[in-house]
């Protein structure tokens, strides 16, 4: 069971990690360098054999360590989760050690985090975009990236030649969403932020 003894024991073995207070499950924070060490220990000694999730959080451009990798492990014995927070140091070109060797399941999760945040997982066997197409220049889940998207050419030249289609910002006009949630009520009201889009476009033949 995950109780005080367990946590103390774990902290003793891994003095670099410490416990963050969270209300749902045990949350450890761990420096990026020690992550393989910690996860290997958790997998082999503590029966956390199921990597359920690996993702990242963009804390905003102003924060010192902008990208935080979050790992969720599950133990079929303890029937409980453990969460590991780990910061990527470099904000410009964030890097993080790949735990693919510990959990093969991390393969795609890491590719997704790379795709969405641009975090380079060192030691990953096949680190390339997984959801967006290979040539896509941006990292969509970063906070500065707008929901509507940014103009880029469509990946297929021959299709573009015929249809003149391109990747354009999506219209936010009359959209049901976009609500800031903070500030004055008039700002928080769901509304369209961007109303520049028009219907005046040529349709293909």
């Amino acid at each position: 069971m995950i109780d005080k003894d367990f946590i103390e024991d774990l902290l003793k073995k891994h003095p670099y990690s410490n416990v963050k207070h969270q209300n749902d499950c045990l949350t450890l924070s761990c420096p990026a360098q020690q992550i393989i060490d910690l996860t290997t220990e958790l997998r082999d000694q503590q029966t956390f054999d199921l990597l359920v999730d690996l993702t990242a959080v963009d804390q905003g451009e102003a924060v010192e360590n902008r990208f935080m990798v979050v790992i969720h492990l599950y133990s079929c014995i303890h029937h409980d989760y453990i969460r590991i927070h780990s910061d990527c140091t470099d904000n410009e070109s964030p890097e993080f050690p790949s735990i693919h060797s510990v959990y093969p399941a991390a393969n795609w999760h890491e590719r997704e985090a790379f795709d969405m945040f641009g975090i380079v997982f060192t030691g990953h066997p096949n680190l390339k975009r997984i959801l967006m197409w290979d040539e896509y220049p941006y990292f969509p889940l970063r906070k500065e990236f707008p929901l509507a998207g940014i103009d880029v050419p469509l990946p297929a030249d021959d299709v573009v030649e015929v249809t003149q289609a391109s990747v354009e910002p999506a219209p936010m006009m009359g959209g049901p969403f976009v609500s800031s949630g903070q500030g004055f009520m008039s700002d928080a009201e769901p509304r369209a932020k961007d109303e520049s889009w028009t219907e005046k476009k040529e349709k293909p033949v």
Partner: protein, 414 residues
């Protein structure tokens, strides 16, 4: 002019851009591109394969053809507004997604929903499981070449759709839950209809089983094909029926009960060999177990409130109250404009969905909008084993393996 050049592209080779795939590696191997629009891939998965004769040497799945940016959208809207998007994750069981999402946000907000609401949720979850597994079985049969079981299971699904429609107002994309409750109470006489359906369903399943389960050809096609060992299954993060078919007893409904699942008596079917046939059998058994749960619920459906009445900042009260009472009107206005007010913090919640464990990791900085939401899609993890699983099988096995993994690209790509 360029139209003519398009016609040069081979059927099935659409979207072929990678230089790796285009060049023939050596004379014995043949690069084959399956999808993204191919009858086998159930949607828009693309497989880049290298074949040696009919044998697969390498198989690389390419996803993202249905990436719609759900996580980014979630960051830009209030919690309740995101409910319709959860419908379209695993679009074979929208209700189960709704429930998982609602519970995740409620856990973050610290709201406890009353017993009747929990019962409604369990009910719709299990119905969604039945509907999803029915389609899974049917499509699996179709992948093996038998079309008729698919039609039979779809007939049953249509009955379920009718029930969903009566409950939620929509047959397919239900958006039924709200944070702190559900959209409305169950209508009168609905439970009787459900129980009638529960009586009819086993017969229909039997009929499908007659066509498939003991069929020699079907056994030949599925037994011993796509075997996933339990250690592999765990290592690749498989969940749901796919993991259980490999012999791992992992069911969040039993292990980490939510929404009052601990109150119901049901078994968790476990496979032994982890092949395609086991996955099929596990799904069929799960349908039967779900029926058990539903029957228990119908026998003893809890009365009381169907939404968290005390959560004033979370749940917008029912329409009739809004129209008559000023306080409720203001409450409704606040929730609609600002969203349910949630404390800062993090939550990770997983629910046992038909396809596996659907997890929501939500980071909140307070207010009605999540700061970051990660959706842990079971299909995404289930598919990741394909790269390891496919080599050594024949091309025709791929259809069966994909069918048995029973993934949905909607939640895989999000």
């Amino acid at each position: 002019m360029s139209e003519v050049t398009f016609k040069e592209v081979q059927v099935g080779d659409s979207g072929y851009r990678d230089a790796v795939a285009e060049e023939r590696l050596n004379s014995e191997r043949m690069a084959l591109n399956v999808g993204p629009s191919h009858p086998t891939t159930h949607g828009v998965l693309r497989l880049m394969m290298e074949l040696n004769g009919d044998l697969i040497e390498k198989c690389e799945p390419v996803l993202g053809y249905l990436h719609r940016g759900d996580e980014k959208i979630a960051e830009n809207m209030t919690y309740n507004q995101f409910v319709p998007y959860t419908d379209r994750l695993d679009y074979l069981s929208p209700l189960a997604n709704n429930v998982a999402y609602a519970i995740a946000v409620e856990n973050l907000a610290g709201v406890k929903v009353p017993e009747r609401c929990e019962a409604i949720r369990v009910m719709i979850c299990e119905m969604a499981r039945i509907s999803s597994h029915l389609l899974g079985m049917g499509v699996f049969g179709m992948d093996a070449g038998a079309w008729t079981p698919f039609m039979y299971t779809f007939t049953e699904r249509e009955k379920l759709y009718t029930l969903f429609e009566e409950l939620t107002g929509a047959r397919f994309t239900t958006s039924f839950t709200r944070i702190g409750g559900v959209a409305r109470d169950i209508p009168e006489g609905w439970l009787q209809k459900v129980s009638r359906f529960c009586e009819e369903l086993p017969k229909a399943i039997e009929e499908v089983e007659k066509l498939l389960t003991r069929n020699r050809i079907f056994l030949d096609r599925t037994e011993g094909v796509g075997v996933i060992s339990s250690s592999d299954a765990l290592a690749f993060g498989l969940t749901g029926p796919n993991l259980r078919a490999s012999g791992v007893d992992f069911d969040l409904r039993k292990d980490k009960p939510y929404s009052g699942y601990e109150k119901y008596d049901f078994e968790v079917p476990i496979g032994t060999r982890g092949d395609c046939y086991d996955r099929y059998l596990v799904r069929i058994e799960e349908v039967r177990e779900s029926l058990k749960i539903i029957n228990q619920l119908i026998d003893d459906f809890p009365a009381g409130s169907w939404y968290a009445e005390d959560a004033k900042k979370i749940f917008a009260p029912p329409k009739e109250k809004i129209m008559t009472s000023m306080e409720e009107l203001i409450q409704n206005f606040m929730i609609v404009t600002e969203g349910p007010q949630v404390k800062p913090g993090e939550i990770y919640f997983e629910a046992e969905n038909p396809k596996g464990a659907l997890g929501f990791y939500i980071v909140s900085k307070g207010g009605g909008v999540p700061y970051r939401m990660k959706i842990r899609a079971p299909s995404f993890c289930n598919l990741s084993i394909l790269e390891k699983l496919a080599p050594g099988h024949m091309l025709a096995d791929i259809t069966v393996i994909l069918g048995s993994l029973d993934f949905v690209m909607g939640e895989c790509d999000r």
